[in-house]
Amino acid sequence: MNRTTTFRTLTIGIGFFTLFSCEDIINIELHSVKPQIVIEGIVRMGALPTVRVSTTQDFNSINEYPSIKDAVVEIWDDAGNREILPFNVDSDKYVVTNAALIGGIRRKTYNLSVTCQGNKYLAESTMLPLVKIDSLTLSKLSVLDYPCPMIHFTSPIGMKEGGYKCTIYINDKVLTNDTFISVDYLAGKPIHLILPIFFEEEEDRRDTPIKQGDNITVEMQCLDANLYKFFWSLGRTNNRMANPVNNIKGGALGYFGAYSWTQKKVTVE
């Protein structure tokens, strides 16, 4: 089942009551806790793997998350390629230099080890075979005055767990809410799914997030089960008031993810 859309109906219903609600900023005293290590390790198909290591910050501090530059970060794959990553000052991350470790499209398992402040963190992620978007069209929901992107693809029979994360870009600007499609019960099934866009923060697009002439790009990433669970739960962090379920052993926040991806673009006419 498509977990993201399943209960959207409910959200729309609650929208009625939000008509009556008002929003303001309040001051709540939140405890200061010992900073936790945060790891964001990415093995994107076709790109050099990167790892960023940082820490949590107090809620009331500025939104800056300085990198930890003295960690020992190592990535290896199941084909025997291995590298201790040097810190790259320009990108503020640890970046792989060994081209053999570039994210490949065949099924491959990657491992990450981060040693930092006396602790060791380990993670593993599998690059799933690429599932292409067959086509991207525009479709209109009767309740919206503008068209929304609709993706068409077939979930392969062999893919039994994990899922797809769809990110929408309007004129190269990313929308914050991703759509998640779990592969559960969908193996071998054709998918035709509208990705509805309800809200847009920009003032001139608040009522009409999509306008004539806009370029809409949808990127679909294929995620293994642990990575899917991480991103799916990341989207619900505030609602569930709980940290996302991650794939890093040793107690760090964040994730280590290898993923294949595909993009399609459509222009609104």
Partner: protein, 696 residues
Amino acid sequence: MGYEEKQMPLWLTGNTIHNISLSQSVINLTEIVVSSKRPDISVTDPQTGVTQMEIQQINKLPVLFGERDIVKSLQLMPGIKSAGEGSTGFFVRGGTTDQNLIMLDNVSLYNASHLMGFFSTFNSDVLRDVSVYKGGMPAQYGERLSAILDIRQRNGDMQDYHLSGGIGLISSKLNVEGPIQKGKSSFLFGARRTYADAIARLSGVEEASNAYLYFYDLNMKLYFTLSPKDQLSVSGYLGKDKMIVKDVADTGWGNSFVTAKWTRSWSSKLSGATSLLYNQYTYDYHQELGMSEGGVAKIKDYGFKKEFHYQINDDNLLRFGLHSTCHDIGPGDYYTNSEEESTTLNLHHRYSWENGIYVSNQLKVNGNLEMIYGLRLSVFSAMGNGEYYKLDENNEVTDTLRYSSGEFVKTYVNLEPRLSAVYKLNTHSSLKVSYARTTQNIHLLTQVFRASPYDRWTSSSNNIRPQIADQYSIGYFRNFRNNTYEFSVETYYKDMWNQIDFKDHAEIQGNDIVETELLRGKGRAYGLELMLKKQTGTLTGWIGYTLAKSEKKIDGINNNRWYNAYQDRTHDISVVGIYELNPKWTLSAAWVYYTGNAISYPSGKYQINGNDVMYYAERNGYRTPAYHRLDIGATYLVKKTAKYESELAFSLYNAYGRRNAYMISFGTNKDDPTKTSAYRYSLFTYVPSISWNFKF
């Protein structure tokens, strides 16, 4: 023309018939109130931890959206706490909402709320009375841990036909009643529907143009006197909520039940009742986003109850009986249809058979000491047909067990002793004590702070053990000035075992093996409840105060330490006043204050993919801001004759416009992306309402 008032004491030691003749009077036109309650009942009743409310009392209180609500009125009593702004969910003595058994005409409802909890399922016009048992539960009640809310529909008038109803800003109701055969049988039908969405559309609210949101409910009661000793009643209820976004999404949920009860008096000492019931709760959803997708979940109960009252002598009243219910919990049948093909997923039903056998005796030991003691035997069996799972210590499935229809999977037997006693210190004061063990085998898998109609119910199984609680309470009751004032102080302590909680981000929906997502532990709750009530006079009302604590200790949460349960509220105050200004106008006001709930707020933040993400360090380590609110109301009696009555009810909910937090959300500041902020969302400041109620 009316009748002179007449008061006479009645000593009820058995079934008895009294003919009361009233003298005619030309001055007294008020209604005749036949009360079944002694004015000093709060001091003399051996039952502890009970709150009773009459519908007339509720009708005078200020309301939200013009709709009188029995459950919201009860939340103004000590020990019964609202689950949130405008909510009909409630917490009793530190328990969760699903630990309350909510019964309408002896049938338990799985979701007693409409419109996401802003209205209860109870149309107050068709109700007779309501009792809430917070502790010292009588043995005839069981099946839930914390409280019993026993609501009865009234019988229709057996002499005359009446039409009554009310028209409000967002809802209306109509009730019709009368004799089927004069003096022998009657009917009562009630109907209620909201139309907030239609009003919004008419007012040009754009968001409402393609959206529909409403509920309706229908109540029915038929009553037949079969013989001087036999009565038969048939009750029914049908309620449905609908939310529709035209051509995109459609969802609904609702309870429905029908029950028949035959009551017989074999002699002046022995009477009994036999009931049969069918009860159903359903929710469904459907959406069209390129593909059509949807699902239906259904719970069905088939029940039988046999109850007896036997007045052994003046000092002993014996009650005994049997309850038996078959539960069929269907967690969901889902489908996804595209142009090319359809996919279905039918989750396994959970079947169970729940039985309770009880005996209790109300004993007058002497003039001062009276007690109700009893024993309830609860036997619960998880049944086939279906798959059950063996789990290891990490909650991972090690084996799948398949059972065929009617096969017993696991049976839990629990003995539940009950005791409630009063010792009268003098004519106007008493001491009361109680003890009750309660068990619960039907569990709601919900996050208490976001209850929804889609929350999943499940039953005890080989992996989920029955919840068990022991509650002890002691209280001092005193009436003043000839029972005009009632004062009480009660204190309680409750231990709870086999409490259920969830892993972070548990997947409850669409999951067959839901047990793997659960965590288990124990709970404890204790508190002090104070109540001062003025019962009679032009000014009536009460002041209630609760000082309480409710904690949990769950394996896998907060390093297995005791922590505050969500429903833990330290202070809870309610002040209610009803003032009869003159025969035409009645004024009312209710003020509530309570400490915020225990809740998880972030203790830091971090960055993922360039976005700020909140960091949660512990479960329920914070509190929501304190809540307070004043509601005021006025009722104007437009006209009252023997045949016709009409009144206008005005209310102002949240009269001083306090912006209580309905939800607090943490995230990147919308105007300054270098900062994170806490956003408060509040509902319902200054909500005026008017409704017109009539009765022919």
